[in-house]
């Protein structure tokens, strides 16, 4: 498992340092390379620069919100094919719909999923 995941890069755009630690540790243990961004603007820049295989994106972020990041990613030829998982605590149907329309691959509400369940989704997308 670890060997096959080694080359896979995941960009994690999240302003909660606690989540950066828990998710970061979990994904590193699985052999993924984690690129961390604590705000939307940095997230978008790092996506363009590092071209990750997957992006985990929060919606409420400083400097630029998740919708702005998503729009920026999908408008850029270099980043538009990168799958994006929205990982948020917002669960209004309007937000879900907006994110999916903007091109997010899937939308996960943090409160409804365990770490193990989220890991499974990530592995499935990157398989």
């Amino acid at each position: 498992m670890k060997i096959s995941n080694e080359s896979k890069k995941i960009l994690f755009v999240e302003d909660e340092s606690a989540l950066q630690t828990t998710f970061g540790n979990m994904l590193t243990k699985q052999g993924y390379e984690i690129i961390k961004a604590m705000d939307g603007k940095t997230g978008l820049e790092l996506a363009r620069e590092k071209k990750p295989d997957l992006i985990l994106l929060d919606l409420i972020l400083p400097k630029m919100d998740g919708f702005g990041v998503l729009k920026g990613l999908k408008e850029d030829e270099k980043t538009k094919e990168i799958p994006v998982i929205i990982l948020t605590n917002l669960e209004n149907t309007g937000d879900v719909q907006r994110a999916l329309e903007l091109g997010a691959m899937t939308y996960l509400t943090k409160a409804n999923y365990t770490l193990a369940e989220i890991l499974k989704k990530i592995e499935k997308i990157l398989a």
Partner: protein, 321 residues
């Protein structure tokens, strides 16, 4: 104020949606109705005055005075309604924001606890696991409470959205029973499911119907007097599906029955037995079923048991908000 804002202000339906109130309870709509009543009163007084009062100046003066009084009263009443509706809306918005803010730290706790409990960070001693389990139980409780408060605020502000999908209600009931099996086994409760003939698929929101059913079933299983049974009946009745959940549990005291669908209410006999529980479950169930175009009610006798039932239209015609 630009033209769009002016149009929005004049759009009574939109204004009422903002308050989460039905049209007939909405301040703007009441203002319009009272305006129409005033115009009718002016016309009627004019017609009566034409016959009975000779001096036209006196008549006009009388009409003007009575109209002014009516307009002032109208304004005061509607303004008070508007203030009430606005304060309710702000309260619910506040609850929504606070709940969202509470969710983040609770989620962080939950995710931090998961690797500790799974043993992937090294072996955990039995006693340590006991304490971690207490943390987990209480994090789950806070999370449940926050989720319930968020749903309540959505129901009350009219922003709870529903999907329209075609699904088997029979499968949904069976799945829900299976999910509660672990609790019913532990508590020694037998759950029986009887279904009528030719139950069609329904077009509604499966997620919320499942939440409502789960809540009712959970109550029926938990509030028992030791060993007992729960009987579920599902039938097609005209254009509706009818679902009944009958238990042999503690029942609801007569004096408490009228409050049972209210927020944060918990019956006295239940409080003595079990102190956990948010008191929001039945309020949410009723809100959800009614917003999906259905009806819900119950009958209960203390120490004999309760029967809750709801009916839902086979086809949800419009999105009720």
């Amino acid at each position: 104020m630009n033209s769009k804002e002016i149009c929005d202000q004049l759009n009574i339906k939109k204004q009422c949606q903002r308050y989460g109130l039905p049209l007939w309870q909405c301040p703007q709509f009441l203002f319009l109705i009272m305006g129409i009543i005033i115009i009718v009163i002016i016309v009627v007084s004019y017609l009566i005055g034409m016959e009975r009062i000779d001096d036209p100046q006196v008549m006009i003066l009388l009409i003007l005075v009575s109209t002014s009084i009516l307009v002032i009263i109208d304004y005061i009443i509607v303004h008070s309604f508007e203030k009430l509706a606005e304060s309710t809306r702000m309260k619910m918005e506040f609850i929504g924001i606070v709940s969202h803010q509470l969710r983040s730290p609770v989620t962080n706790l939950k995710y931090a606890l998961e690797p500790l409990m799974s043993g992937e960070l090294g072996e955990t001693q039995k006693e340590q696991l006991d304490y971690l389990a207490i943390l987990k139980q209480n994090i789950d409780r806070i999370q449940e409470l926050i989720n319930d408060i968020l749903v309540v605020s959505r129901i009350q502000t009219g922003v709870l959205n529903f999907k329209k999908e075609n699904f088997s209600i029979v499968d949904l009931v069976e799945k829900t029973i299976a999910e509660t099996k672990s609790i019913s086994l532990v508590l020694n409760i037998t759950v029986n499911f009887k279904k009528g003939k030719n139950i069609p698929n329904i077009i509604s929101d499966s997620f919320w119907i499942k939440q409502a059913l789960k809540n009712l079933l959970d109550n029926a299983i938990r509030y028992q007097k030791g060993k007992g049974e729960v009987n579920i009946l599902l039938e097609k009745r005209n254009n509706n599906v009818y679902l009944e959940i009958k238990d042999s549990g503690v029942g609801i005291p007569r004096a408490d029955q009228k409050y049972i669908f209210q927020k944060f209410f918990r019956a006295k006999n239940v409080l003595k037995k079990q102190t956990s529980g948010t008191g929001l479950g039945l309020f949410i169930v009723k809100g959800v079923i009614e917003k999906l175009g259905g009806k819900i009610n119950f009958s209960s006798k203390e120490n004999k048991g309760s029967t809750f039932w709801f009916s839902l239209p086979i086809k949800l015609n419009k999105r009720k908000q």
